[in-house]
Symmetry: C2
Subunit: 383 residues, 2 copies
């Protein structure tokens, strides 16, 4: 299985800043040294502490770097593989703004049915634009970072550790290139790559706080992303036609870039797969999220991160969050020897993903992993 | 009137990075040179391109710098005043995360009454926690930046320039100090200073998009802040008791830091004052916003910016946005020779503020200014 991706590593007896690395079948590759010694393209972008400079460089640089790496890592590169002991993956880029969307129809409909069984399955705006909100960029964390169960108001005056800690299996789009608003046809030129994203959620806190301005503390405690960013160029065989839509999206949300990605997600709790959400079903595509986000004139910045929102398919075993899997906590899910409505302390969640590879087979995207730690002793976080 | 504040200036024939300056009665003062030549405190934080390093340094450094500047700028400092020609104020710090709250009861109640005249005046959560949402850090702009009328979906399928471009007169709190969650008693140690903030809003776009995740494009096109940041130490005489609250806030939102700020705002359109919103009336105080925001374990970062939300008083001429002043567009406001429901192209909005000064008199805070430019020709922004 192919697995070319870029990330940032620290550790291995080297304190201080991280360095850019690539993932190959042989291990973690010091691409800065490789590009320097072998006169690869853009050595100054690869011999860097983070992906920030590469993200800012834009599509032509990304394409050249990807082409070179794909070829070079297909040959012997053992001298550039870092000894694995002590390597620690770091957050691969500085997150500028983080926007989380709600792009999956099945998830939006399920969430609405759970919240208001007698109400309409979708809000009136849902099929007219990609609904979304800004999340907290400062709490985006790399895979492996522990997640402390957050406290908050679970209902009016009822402060304590959340009783409904959830995950959301999502795709994350890592943006770069020139700043500025982006038209639909140029949107994909601003996507450097894809991460797997877990939008941890405290459902009780979120439900109480969200009216009328949306989620805040129910989401802002942590958002985890895979340490490896899979370049969009690596996913060239994964493009698919978007799903049928009614009504037709407005013209500024249509164009040849309006394509879906056939990424298969897998959500596992404590080593057991509980769901396989299909991102191929997303109603709104990456290009539409970008074109919508900038349609009011707001520029993108390198390091902007867009989440797709929970990916869910039509079947129960394709639902990407416990809210849906347990139908609002009413239908426990079997996980190994126990049942879960929401997460328990000590649970470890791993979301992984694959997509069709150029030339056949599959590409493995990065995985995002996190273990739930108990709430801090005080009940509220500060001590 | 006192007016000690810090900012960043570029221009004056000097291309490239900006430099930290202070505002005194005599003009714009090159505090980097002043601190360097006269061995002032923390010269490395003042001889900088932005306020970022100073914000990270924390309260003890802020207090020492403020005390020194307040004394030194009371004496002759003419050699350090920059020639005004060509000076351009810049965004004074790198905005980390921007969170906009909804902390004024009068505004929240008016907004609810306008949206649903027969509904309750406040959402069930409003008196239990400070409702807020993350805004777009990347579109926070310095006073003077033109605001292009944004386009968006004003209703289902109805794309075009907003018909209800509004302002929101707010206080902004500029945060710094050590990262991490913050308990109530320590909250004010994380407030470096105060800006005047205009949260430009496209009411039609906001109303259509907001369900259920809150505002996105209706707000993300621009948020303007004053170029001058008034250090909190400069506002020592402006503290007041918070307003009476029922129910009493939860213990983690109470403490000696729970004080309001007696800041008087003034909202002018095309040179005419249309409103004088009193920030003394804010229901939730700065310390509560901070303690709430970090109560789920989310850390602060230096450069985080918190908006109070629109400040409105009980009288019509104290309302801080046109939504309220025109009661949802139904009661035009007289501005000079014309009437306004919402902003017209060419309108210039200036929000200014003062507060009681130590020793009597008033402190002038920075003002935030912006002119409305017509929507881009294409109707949607990207061209």
């Amino acid at each position: 299985m192919r697995s070319l991706a870029l990330g940032v590593v620290g550790g291995a007896g080297r304190p201080g800043p991280g360095r850019v690395v690539a993932r190959s079948a042989e291990g973690v590759v010091d691409v800065g040294s490789l590009a320097d010694v072998e006169a690869g393209p853009y050595p100054e972008l690869l011999a860097a502490h983070t992906l920030d400079a590469l993200l800012a460089a834009g599509r032509p640089a990304w394409r050249e770097v990807h082409g070179w790496l794909a070829a070079r890592l297909g040959e012997d590169h053992a001298p550039y593989v870092l000894p694995p002991a002590g390597l620690q993956m770091r957050l691969p880029f500085s997150v500028a703004d983080y926007v989380d969307f709600f792009a999956c129809e099945q998830h939006a409909a399920n969430a609405a049915r759970i919240a208001r069984p007698s109400g309409p399955p979708l809000a009136p705006n849902w099929k007219h634009l990609p609904v979304g909100y800004h999340g907290r960029a400062g709490t985006v964390a790399v895979s492996g970072t522990p997640v402390v169960r957050p406290s908050g108001q679970r209902a009016a005056g009822d402060l304590g550790p959340t009783r409904s800690l959830d995950v959301e299996a999502e795709l994350g789009f890592v943006l770069g290139g020139s700043a500025g608003p982006v038209a639909m046809d140029d949107a994909l030129d601003h996507v450097f790559g894809v991460v797997v994203l877990n939008d941890w959620s405290a459902r009780d806190v979120q439900a109480f706080e969200s009216r009328p301005l949306g989620p805040l503390l129910g989401k802002s405690f942590a958002t985890s992303i895979s340490a490896w960013v899979t370049p969009l160029d690596e996913l060239a065989a994964a493009w698919v036609d978007p799903p049928p839509r009614d009504p037709e999206p407005l013209p500024h949300l249509l164009g040849t870039a309006d394509r879906g990605l056939d990424v298969a997600l897998e959500l596992a709790i404590n080593g057991e797969v509980v769901s396989r959400p299909p991102a191929i079903d997303l109603y709104w595509t990456a290009a539409q999220l970008i074109a919508h986000l900038t349609s009011n004139g707001a520029p993108l910045r390198a390091g902007d991160l867009l989440g797709s929102g929970t990916v869910s398919g039509a079947r129960r075993d394709q639902r990407g969050c416990l809210l849906e899997l347990s139908w609002g906590g009413t239908e426990p899910v079997q996980v190994g020897t126990g049942a879960r409505t929401y997460l328990e302390d000590g649970d470890e969640v791993v979301i992984s993903a694959t997509a069709p590879a150029v030339g056949g087979g599959r590409v493995a995207l990065g995985e995002v992993r996190g273990r739930v730690h108990p709430a801090s002793r005080s009940g509220t976080a500060p001590v």
